[in-house]
């Protein structure tokens, strides 16, 4: 079922099956929830806003249930030109959501949160000890391994 919704969103179902999927989605509550959640995933990935914290919960639940697909599945529409990987999308979205969550709790790098302090200084996790240090990492690296500037732009897209 979730597979079918994902394909429907990616315009991969031929007309007859698409019609049936849409009718089913209108009639079943669970299916409608999935449909909304998948659109929310799309919105997040396009840098848009997600409507409310409840959708974040739904997204995370949906991601948890989404099987990991390790090989791209065949495109059903000839010449569609896009490879729609629901699982890959879920993983990417999970990273974005996790990042936004961290941003709201503490403006610090998630990668800095879990590491050891060294002798000669207070033993504190960097996320607590160095608020705002992520800005400095971005400025220092300027345009490095993409993730840093990307994180900032996603953060800006979400109203605080």
């Amino acid at each position: 079922m979730t597979q079918e919704i994902s394909e429907l969103m990616d315009s991969e179902l031929e007309t007859g099956r698409a019609g049936r999927a849409i009718r089913r989605c209108c009639g079943e509550d669970g299916c409608r929830q999935d449909w909304l959640a998948y659109h929310a995933i799309g919105d997040v990935m396009r840098g848009g806003d997600v409507a409310g914290a409840r959708s974040t919960r739904r997204i995370l639940d949906a991601i948890r249930e989404e099987p990991t697909v390790l090989a791209p599945r065949r495109l059903r529409l000839a010449g569609a030109g896009r490879v729609a990987l629901a699982a890959a999308a879920s993983v990417a979205t999970l990273a974005v959501v996790a990042w936004i969550g961290l941003q709201q709790q503490a403006p610090s790098s998630p990668s800095l949160a879990a590491k050891s302090s060294l002798p000669g200084a207070a033993a504190l996790p960097a996320s607590e000890a160095v608020p705002g240090v992520q800005d400095y990492v971005v400025v220092h690296r300027q345009v490095p391994a993409a993730d840093f500037y990307r994180a900032v732009s996603v953060t800006e897209a979400v109203p605080r």
Partner: protein
């Protein structure tokens, strides 16, 4: 280098280029790397890995009329594209319809990693040549930079025999583990292709007329005498940039000093501390990145860079007001 490798090197070199035989001096090789990274025209795919993160990018680099024009398009994750003309950086984010502009002061753009004349590097690193290896279908010469102290990491660069363009680079942790902290590598590379100007200008530039332009990093970062200096920085580290930056959401300008030994760079930031809770001395190292903070009166000093923790601590503890007469 043993004679068999030398023979392979010589044979490959004759095959690849009509230039004279490659020099055997590491400083000459580093000079070839500087020139090769800047003046070679190429298109290729670069994989950058640091810790558990891996990012693949497509890179198009053109050298024309003395100018470097480079386009870097990320192939993983959200779409993103960087267009660099010499030290001027434009970063296109189609997902948020944003263009960021900045000037290169401390960024590491593989394969252009050297920030100082090669002779300067000998002050901080023992230089030697390693073996010849095949990377992305091309033969390259390893140049090995072993740190002279424990205040920087070891680096290795593998320079294409014909052009000097680095095909792979690695930053390595200390002995005995010698783990790879960061690595860049071409996985495919086409040299000397005549790239049309439109292709270098970027995928998003024609679409970006109404995108939000974020000049904050570029325009609000002004070269300035910050009034700060570092007493006894690690050997070989010199002040290469000094500026005042503004950050979104921060009322005060932040002073930034950039120090480099020619390969590794670290940034010193000084700003008013937002709250007393921040006023603690901390030192952390995450893979190749080290971060140090300490209070300085009502101010906070932060030092970070791709160097061992001991280096950011030494620099951070040496931050003092600059004498007025020295400026």
């Amino acid at each position: 280098m043993n004679s068999a490798r030398a023979a392979v090197a010589a044979a490959s070199f004759v095959a690849c280029s009509s230039l004279a035989a490659p020099p055997g001096d590491p400083i000459d090789w580093l000079q070839r790397i500087v020139t090769g990274a800047r003046e070679t025209t190429y298109t290729g795919t670069v994989v950058h890995s640091a810790g558990s993160s891996t990012v693949t990018s497509r890179v198009i680099h053109v050298f024309r009329d003395g100018n470097e024009i480079e386009r870097i398009e990320s192939l993983d994750g959200p779409r993103q594209e960087i267009v660099r003309v010499n030290d001027h950086i434009q970063c296109f984010h189609p997902d948020s319809k944003t263009i960021r502009t900045d000037k290169r002061v401390s960024a590491r753009f593989f394969p252009s990693l050297l920030l100082a004349p090669p002779a300067m590097l000998a002050e901080s690193y023992h230089l030697r040549l390693g073996g010849i290896e095949r990377v992305a279908g091309k033969d390259c010469q390893w140049v090995i930079l072993e740190p002279r102290d424990d205040l920087r990491f070891a680096h290795r660069l593998c320079a294409h025999l014909g052009s000097g363009l680095p095909l792979r680079s690695a930053m390595l942790g200390p002995l005995p583990r010698r783990q790879v902290l960061e690595q860049y590598s071409f996985t495919d590379l086409r040299l000397g292709r005549d790239v049309p100007a439109a292709e270098v200008r970027g995928t998003y530039e024609p679409l970006a007329a109404d995108w939000r332009r974020d000049h904050q990093a570029d325009e609000e970062a002004k070269p300035a005498a910050t009034g700060w200096t570092v007493q006894s920085p690690p050997r070989g580290f010199r002040l290469v940039h000094e500026l005042q930056r503004k950050f979104p959401g921060r009322p005060h300008a932040v002073s930034q000093l950039v120090y480099s030994d020619g390969l590794a760079a670290l940034s010193v930031f000084v700003e008013p501390a937002a709250s007393p809770a921040e006023l603690r001395e901390t030192l952390t190292q995450d893979g190749g990145l080290s971060i140090y903070t300490r209070p300085l009166g009502d101010l906070r000093v932060t030092v970070l860079g791709e160097v061992p923790a001991s280096a950011v601590r030494q620099v951070g503890r040496g931050v003092v007001r600059a004498a007025v007469s020295s400026r």
